[in-house]
Symmetry: C2
Subunit: 140 residues, 2 copies
Amino acid sequence: MMEQKIDELLKKNHLSITGGRRKILELFLQQDGALSHSDIERRAGEKFDRVTVYRTLQTFLEKGLIHSIPTSDNSIRYALCKDDCSGGQHHDDHVHFICNACGTTVCLEGVTVPSIALPDGYVTEQVEMLISGVCKSCNH
Amino acid sequence: MMEQKIDELLKKNHLSITGGRRKILELFLQQDGALSHSDIERRAGEKFDRVTVYRTLQTFLEKGLIHSIPTSDNSIRYALCKDDCSGGQHHDDHVHFICNACGTTVCLEGVTVPSIALPDGYVTEQVEMLISGVCKSCNH
DNA sequence: GTAACTGCAAAATATTTGCATCCTT
DNA sequence: AAGGATGCAAATATTTTGCAGTTAC
């Protein structure tokens, strides 16, 4: 079932189905949060090359399969796009949350970014909102 | 006059006054926007070492003289804190703006981040808001 | 005078590129 | 069969660390 979903996703984005891409997509699907490059390398075991991870993430980004979440600690995380934001254009106005306790990054799909009034002359094209704090699991 | 402001800032943050720190602070004061590590290296001429820039930025961050602004393109920018957020704790809830045309990053001091309702169990500690689009100067 | 800052060298990491080979369609 | 994806080697770029010399207070 997971297999099928993976292949379907790849096909839908006009990508050929290969072992590496399957594996990386699987990692994203297996969990709710976002993954950094090193997360992926670590979790994938010694399966494949660093370089393949770079190239695969780049491809996924371009195709709009994943989006990147900038964090203040210099480590970019990537997360699956829920809706289709194909072609590299993302209009996903959802909020990202980073837990200061466990480090997990998730997309809060339900929470939408409020619209903001900018000073005269400024035009908004994209809004990125990043909240850090304590997540559900760590807040017992 | 700039000189005095610089030294004052350093003193206020319990930092000794050195040439490198003066120069880097000057760069920040000379302009409104945010600077990346490479911006600083480039603008400082061949004056001082890469390593000094790393260490100075780190120190400024810790003292709360500057804060970091994560961007989606993996390049962290730094900007002066207007109010005192000493000790590394920043509660500056202002919005950052990146111009897609000229690349300039500025802090929109006047625009405050709206409070957001998170799902049950989540606790907000800090909010980072990053808007990209077209800035005042590029939008003629 | 002492503690802290700087510059240099070098180590450790991270990212990119070229190319030959293998795999997908 | 053809184009694209992968792995390896190596070139680049980035960041960190150690240490000796210098500077600020």
